[in-house]
Symmetry: C2
DNA sequence: GGACGCATGTAATAGGTTACATGATTAC
DNA sequence: GTAATCATGTAACCTATTACATGCGTCC
């Protein structure tokens, strides 16, 4: 079993969904910490069904294509539950902006400022989006958010991490811009 | 050209290195935001050499195996410089702990607390490590850190991001533990 | 004798993205 | 007309990890 499998089970533990629904949710509610395209989802669903972790039923629709709706089985819930408690394997981090930052010394400061200004803006936008969801949740599901046995609490928890991540990212980008705005000292060339 | 290529060029822009040296640096100085194993590095170096971005020379050693030392060419420096200024493509985030967090509501709070306690500890340890490097840099290269044209500044900048990331991560883990320690409200089962 | 560091490679597999493929309905 | 949404799949490709493969020197 791999991580996409558990991502799908995690969604199906909350609601019965079609492959299409799952792919949409892997774009937004989960999308900010786990993503998958539909070409990964459909084969994975077939595997999960083969192992008895999900059940499939076809829903005939009028005016739009039929769909296959999946629901989690007790066996599926059991493997999901067992997996949750297992210590996560280190996901090797890969941040392209940090990779660029490592070589930023080669480039004129003005160029660098442009780069980080664009990134700061993009992350600030995402932060605002997350803050919006957060307020919505705090208004709508106030009680559920306090109970750790509620799926709303779990969603809220991931959202809180997203917010803290984006806040720190924006702050760092702004620090970078400030650092790249310092008057250049006498430049000493290497080599 | 892909990201590992630029990671290697970024390292070779600072020093001449062998494939072995590069693989070690992709474990630590760069390792916390970009990683690669030696099986990715050696073929990539051959590609870079083929395109004229690096030059290779064999260094004969006594008492240990000979090695191939690579140095960046002007053409290599040029592509690196051009790439740095380009806006980074969104690296799709994948955090296994967050994926587990999304399904934490299924699991007994005590199990969850164990999970986050272990993670908090691991991240706190990494944070302490980064703080150590930071102090070392602030003591040793104080002047260079202020000049954005210095490679030391660039290293420092990535380190600062690592520190802010780990700090936020630890704080979030602790918040999770606190949240999972609240007395359970009357549990309402879904479905 | 065995583990570890230096040193360089290849092969197999897993994971993930992009492209190919089809087709109806609705909104602009 | 043309783009977007709903809906499900396959194929090709790229990236990344793990395993296979070799061999000397040093330290315990």
């Amino acid at each position: 079993m791999n991580n996409i499998g558990f991502a799908l089970l995690g969604l199906l533990a909350r609601d019965d969904l079609s492959g299409y629904d799952l792919s949409r949710r892997l774009k937004m509610p989960l999308g900010f910490f786990w993503q998958a395209g539909h070409s990964q989802i459909y084969p994975e669903l077939a595997k999960l069904a083969g192992r008895g972790f999900v059940r499939e039923r076809t829903v005939v629709q009028a005016g739009r294509p039929n769909k296959k709706v999946y629901s989690i089985t007790p066996a599926g819930k059991a493997v999901l539950l067992a997996w949750v408690a297992l210590p996560p394997g280190r996901t090797p981090p890969r941040d392209e902006l940090l990779l660029k930052t490592y070589s930023i010394w080669l480039s004129p400061p003005a160029e660098g400022r442009k780069l980080f200004a664009a990134e700061a803006e993009a992350h600030a936008k995402r932060l605002a989006e997350y803050e919006g969801y957060r307020e919505q949740m705090e208004r709508g599901q106030k009680r559920a958010l306090r109970s750790s046995a509620s799926p709303h609490f779990a969603t809220y928890a991931t959202l809180m991490r997203g917010i803290s991540f984006e806040r720190a990212y924006v702050a760092w980008c702004r620090w970078m811009i400030k650092s790249l705005s310092r008057p250049a000292a006498r430049t000493r060339k290497r080599q």
